[in-house]
């Protein structure tokens, strides 16, 4: 394709080129809104049908890790926004620094998610054979808060007495939990790949006040993934904490 510097032949100015790229990214994000919207819808319907099992499932999640990860992700959005600003005002070194900070924070988020998943494996909360919401309260592990666990046991026993299907409905919660957070994590991994590509470009000094569309549109994507988490966090972690 014909190209002069960073300007492709079918555009007249870099500004027009950037506007088109940004517009295209927004169109893509619309499809993403509806894609994640479908999952939120499935979650809402199942939660309203099986609120007891969903409440118990939600309370097994670690609120400190969840809230911590929310802070980490919002910080990464700030550094991403700062990377865009650095490119716009021509501070080439800062672009690299802020992009690397964004990638580092994104990696921390994924690491914490990994720790949380591991916990769910240990506690027999993976949907499928062996799933048992009674398992963890009766098999404490090192580092468990025993008082918290006793509360959980009481809650689980009470629920089982009323509804023997709790384990079946609980699997719905955890299927949705792993499905939604897994897809979110997949988006983070894609974002991390895009950031690596941007970092390579910023080391080469590619991004200037005239040409910074790639930083801008990857930024849009990154912020969108942040927004998905802003909704996932209260819905998955906080639905039944007041007892």
């Amino acid at each position: 394709m014909h190209r002069t510097g960073e300007l492709y032949g079918h555009f007249q100015t870099l500004e027009q080129q950037k506007e088109s790229a940004t517009f295209g990214m927004w169109i893509f994000l619309v499809t993403e809104v509806l894609f994640f919207g479908g999952m939120f819808l499935a979650y809402t319907i199942n939660r309203s049908a099986f609120s007891t099992a969903f409440g118990i499932g939600s309370n097994t999640l670690d609120i400190t890790l969840g809230a911590g990860n929310t802070v980490v992700l919002i910080m990464s959005s700030l550094t991403m926004a700062m990377a865009v600003w650095s490119a716009q005002v021509g501070k080439k070194k800062l672009v690299s620094i802020f992009l690397i900070a964004t990638l580092a924070l994104g990696t921390v988020f994924l690491g914490v998610k990994g720790i949380e998943y591991k916990q769910k494996f240990d506690h027999h909360l993976i949907p499928g054979r062996g799933f048992d919401m009674k398992y963890h309260p009766t098999h404490p592990m090192a580092g468990d808060d025993l008082k918290e666990l006793a509360l959980e046991k009481e809650e689980v026993d009470k629920a089982f007495a009323v509804d023997p299907d709790i384990n079946f409905h609980g699997q719905l919660y955890f299927s949705l939990y792993f499905g939604m957070t897994g897809l979110h994590a997949l988006h983070m991994i894609v974002g991390a790949g895009l950031l690596l590509w941007l970092i390579k470009g910023s080391f080469a000094g590619r991004f200037t006040p005239q040409y910074n569309a790639p930083v801008e549109i990857v930024g849009l994507y990154w912020h969108f993934v942040d927004i998905v988490w802003i909704f996932l966090f209260p819905l998955l972690y906080l639905i039944d904490r007041h007892r």
Binding site: E15, K18, T22, F23, W26, L29, V30, V33, L34, G37, G38, F40, L41, T44, I45, S48, A49, F50, A67, T70, V71, I74, S77, L78, M80, A81, M82, W85, Q88, V89, P127, G128, R129, G130, F131, D132, K134, Y135, V162, D163, P164, D165, N167, F168, Q171, G219, L220, H223, F224, D226, I227, I230, F231, F233, P234, L235, L238, I239, R241, H242
Partner: protein
């Protein structure tokens, strides 16, 4: 037409607001507001998302064309949510504890421990 550059000061202000919202939503989750708990949680999340869209994603300073796309995405999402939920809400299905299931678990004996 030159592009609008959002200053770091505004980014930091928005960041502070988002942190405040996160703290607030965690605090609110531990209070008993009855059925308002979910409304408060989703309300705070929506405000946070709006701040991200307007400032981090520059929607406030974007061309009208881009803003139209954003409004459309929310509109179509609202159609999907409203029509599906009203359908589920007005259909009768048994979900009494122990007897009713949205889906009959043909192989549930394989999954329950």
């Amino acid at each position: 037409m030159s592009e609008h550059i959002v200053s770091p000061k505004i980014y930091l202000l928005i960041f502070a607001a988002l942190m405040l919202g996160t703290g607030l939503t965690v605090w609110a989750a531990f209070q008993n507001f009855g059925k308002f708990n979910i409304i408060i949680a989703l309300g705070i999340a929506t405000i946070k998302a709006t701040l991200v869209v307007l400032y981090f994603m520059h929607a406030r300073y974007s061309p009208k064309r881009t803003q139209l796309v954003i409004v459309c995405s929310v509109f179509w999402l609202a159609i999907m949510l409203a029509l599906t939920l009203s359908d589920y809400d007005t259909r009768s299905h048994e979900t009494q504890p122990g007897e009713g299931r949205l889906v009959q678990p043909a192989a549930s004996h394989l999954f329950s421990a």
